[in-house]
Every structure is written in structure tokens, then in C-alpha cells.
Amino acid sequence: MRTERLVQHLLGLAAACSVAVTVLIFGFMVILGLPLITGGAFFQMFTSPWLPSQAVYGIAPMMVGTVSIAGLALAFSFPVSLGCAALISVLGTGPLPALLHRLVRFMTGIPTVVYGFAGIFVLVPMIREWVGRGSGMCIFSAALLLAVLVAPTMILFFSDSFSSVPKAYLTAADALGATPVQKLFHVVIPCSWRGLITGVVLALGRALGDTLIALMIAGNATAMPGSVLDPARTLTAHIALVVAADFDSLEFRTLFACGIILYVCTTLMVIFTRRVGAVSERRLWRSA
């Protein structure tokens, strides 16, 4: 009885610690960013450019860079992931689905920096040749590589929710003369939309939070990008680059604003995922 209570308290303490760490990180960012907020420059930052020489520390270009790289990566990755998950769970025959599944799981274990290297030595020169100007380091290149990086998250989530569609629905569709593709579009996908949304949101979180790909491939220009073939800098890469050079100036303080934005975005996504939650829906299906 006593050990029971002790273990309960210990586990409670561990849980409280992990919650406290998250809250403290947020508090730490707000406090250290306070000079910005009280100085009235906080909201201005979101609309102004980054010109440290003129003491203008706006992060608008980084926000645009982040959103465009992550958004484009998702747009590239979504159809491919959907097709791949469909092959794994619904359409594939013979040893292909199992092989593909193993390969995708293997992909999740590859360090990001390896993707980055492949990008620098293969993708960037190809894009440079194709575009015919610039270094090849641009939003488009980074988005392509990031699409490869976030694909496994989506594929595994999609194929998991495809596989949890009740067998009775699939047999019903088979017996009514549905082809495998019709079964996918009319039964499997409509039944797993919650899982699809959760997979997309998690992949978006991963794309927004990734630092290394953007740092290595996107070119890191602080100017506002005009097209997807322009170089850009993401919020995460910006934090990494400024931290490497400085640690106590207004320039440095702006990093906390970047941190707050990323933190709030991630939190909103986690809340959204919980709300839509494929998990509860899957339980409903099983009991149906």
C-alpha cells in the first residue's frame, strides 16, 4: 500500500516535471523577449524586413520562408504519401506492401543531415541546371527535400488509418462489385479522413519545425522571397544562424519572438490533432 502510494507520487512528480519544463520554456521565451514587447517593437517585427545595419529586426521574410517551404513540402508530399499508403494497405499485392512498409519505417531512422547532404550534392545542382540562374538553393529545392523527409510520417499514419477501416465495409464493397480503386476512393478514404487530417497536421508540424534541411538547402537569404526559385530563410534556420553569431543584443532578442511563434503553432497543431484525434474514431469503428 505504501509503495503503491510512493510510486504514484513519483510518477505524478515525473508528469509534473515534464509539464513544468514545457511551461517554463514558454515563460522563459516570453521573459527574455520582454524588452521587445515593452519596447513596442513586438508586433512591428511581424511586418518589417530584417535589416540589422539599420536596427530593423523584422522577421516577416522568415515567416514567409517558413510557411512557403513547409506548405510546398506538404503539397508535394501529400499525394505521394496517399498513394504509397494506399499501396501498402489497400491496393498492393504480393510482397510489395510489406517491403514498402519496411522501407518507409527505415526512412524515419535516417538522420536529417544525410538528406541534407544528398540535397546539396544531387538536388541543388539539378535545380541550378534546370532554372539556369542562382545557386539552386531555393524554396523549391528545400520544399522538395523536406517533402521526402515528412513523407514517412504521413505514409505511416495514413496506412495505419486505412488498415483500421472495418473489414465488414471492405467485404461489402467487394461483394457489390467495387474495383480496388473504387473501394479506396468510396470506402477507405471517406472512412479514414480523421486519420488523414491527423497525419497531415503532424507532417506540417514536422515541416515547420525542421531546421537542418532549410539551413542547408534553402539558401538562408534574409530578403523577402519573390518566387519559389528564390532563396529564403526559415524561422528555425534563423534562430540557428543568429545564435551562432551573437547572444546579447536586440537582434538576439528577436529570436524569442521566432521561438514564441513556433511554440504557439506547434501547440495549436497538437490541440487540433487531439480534437480531431484519429484514435477515438478508430475505437468507435472497432466497436461498431
Binding site: 465488414a168 465495409y169 467485404t171 461489402a172 464493397a173 467487394d174 461483394a175 457489390l176 462489385g177 467495387a178 474495383t179 473504387q182 468510396h186 470506402v187 471517406p190 472512412c191 461498431a288
Partner: protein
């Protein structure tokens, strides 16, 4: 008296096994056109398997194997349904199957019944609507659901769900309707409605139904086929189906 005596389904030397377990051994049987044939016998002796052989639904089961031939007279021609050229979706539209446990899809009543038409394609919206209404009327369900076609099909009672599944099979005008113990999960009242429905469908299609209930077989079927130990024990005509006068 049987109106027609032409053969609809011709089974020759059929062997079937799941992994190492033989389920059907050397089955040869003819099923007559526009008749109601009951398949009876103890559990696990291949009754449901026989139905799944008629629309090839067993093919996805790992380890299942079949030998022998099955010909079904469809669209006016005799077809070897296991010939590589035989289109599976087409076969399954012509040979409908209703399961033991009603399995409506997670969509509205209307969409459930319209679903096979949508899969088949080539029909206008109005044609689909007309076909859905006809099928629901055929399945004695129209009056129950005509004001709630947009509701989720899973909100219907068990008996209504089963009639919905029958309507869904009927909407593409199948030539053969396979019924796998269609009333085993229903109460007496719902069972009676389904039995009447089965009798009314005989005019237009050939019905093969699995049943455990010999009283039901006598009420509904004209012919019966008994399977035991994977072999056919008896195949004959029931002298006076009690229900036929109803």
C-alpha cells in the same frame, strides 16, 4: 410447378479447401433458373463457402484453394466464372450476395442503395434515383425510409438494415441473389418480412440461400441441397412449400 427448368448455375467436380482443411469434396450440382434453392447442413461444412464460390468472394482469403468448374448463365450466355476473361466487378453485380450480419456502409440510406449503381457508372442522377426507389420498394423498405433517405443507414433496426442490404444488392438487377442465413440475426417479425421478400423476388432472379432453420427452408425454398462432410448428402425438391400460397 416450376415455371422454368433451365439451369442457371452448373457446378462440376468442385473441390475447396482452406489451408489443409478440405471443405468441399467433388461437388456436382445444378441450380435451376428462377428458383429458390436452400443450402442446408451442419455448421462448418462449406455452405457459406459455396455461396462465396458463386461470386468469387473467397479469393482474398489466404490459403484458400479451389478446383473444378462453375458456370453461370448470365446475360443470356453460359459463362465460366473462373475464366481469366470474366470481369470480377461485372460478375459481382450480376451475382449479388447478402451477408448473415447486415453490413450497411457508413453513409446515408440513399447512398448505400445507390452505391452499386455509382460503381457501375453510366447512369444519370434521375436513373439512379428511380433505381433506388424501385429497389427499396422491392425490398419492402420504401415506406419505412422514404422520408429519411439522408439519415445514416446504421440508424435503422436490424431487420431494416438487412432489407437495406437486399435493396442494395437488387439495385443493379442481379440475375442471381445469394443469401447467407439472411434472417439468423433477426427476430420473428423481421424474419417473416424477409421470407416474404425472398418469395417475391423469385420472379426475377435465381435465389440460393443458406439456412439452418429447416422450417424456414420448407416455408421458402422449392429445392434444397444438403452438404455434410464436404459432400452432397441429398439434393431434391421439397414437395409442398407451405409459404407459396401466401
Amino acid at each position: 410447378m416450376l415455371a422454368q427448368t433451365s439451369i442457371k448455375i452448373k457446378v462440376r467436380n468442385l473441390f475447396f479447401s482452406y489451408a489443409e482443411t478440405a471443405v468441399l469434396k467433388d461437388l456436382t450440382v445444378d441450380i435451376l433458373d428462377r428458383s429458390i434453392t436452400a443450402v442446408v447442413g451442419p455448421s462448418g461444412r462449406g455452405k457459406s463457402t459455396l455461396l462465396s464460390i458463386f461470386n468469387r468472394l473467397w479469393e482474398d482469403i489466404p490459403g484458400a484453394r479451389m478446383k473444378g468448374s462453375v458456370h453461370i448463365h448470365l446475360d443470356g450466355t453460359d459463362r465460366d466464372i473462373y475464366h481469366p476473361a470474366c470481369s470480377l466487378p461485372d460478375l459481382r453485380r450480376k451475382v449479388g450476395l447478402v451477408f448473415q450480419i447486415p453490413n450497411p456502409l457508413p453513409m446515408s440510406i440513399y447512398k448505400n442503395v445507390a452505391f452499386p449503381r455509382k460503381l457501375a457508372g453510366g447512369s444519370s442522377k434521375q436513373q439512379v434515383m428511380d433505381a433506388v426507389e424501385t429497389a427499396l420498394k422491392q425490398a419492402f423498405l420504401w415506406e419505412d425510409v422514404k422520408d429519411r433517405l439522408r439519415e445514416d443507414a446504421r440508424s435503422l433496426s436490424g431487420g431494416q438494415q438487412q432489407r437495406l442490404c437486399m435493396a442494395r444488392a437488387l439495385v443493379v438487377n442481379p440475375e442471381v441473389l445469394l443469401l447467407d442465413e439472411p434472417t439468423s440475426s433477426l427476430d420473428a417479425e423481421a424474419t417473416e418480412i424477409i421470407e416474404q421478400l425472398i418469395l417475391s423476388l423469385k420472379e426475377n432472379c435465381t435465389i440460393v440461400m443458406v439456412s439452418h432453420d429447416m422450417a424456414q427452408v420448407k416455408r421458402v425454398a422449392e429445392r434444397w441441397l444438403e452438404l455434410s462432410e464436404g459432400k452432397m448428402m441429398a439434393n431434391g425438391r421439397i414437395s409442398a412449400p407451405a409459404c407459396r400460397a401466401r
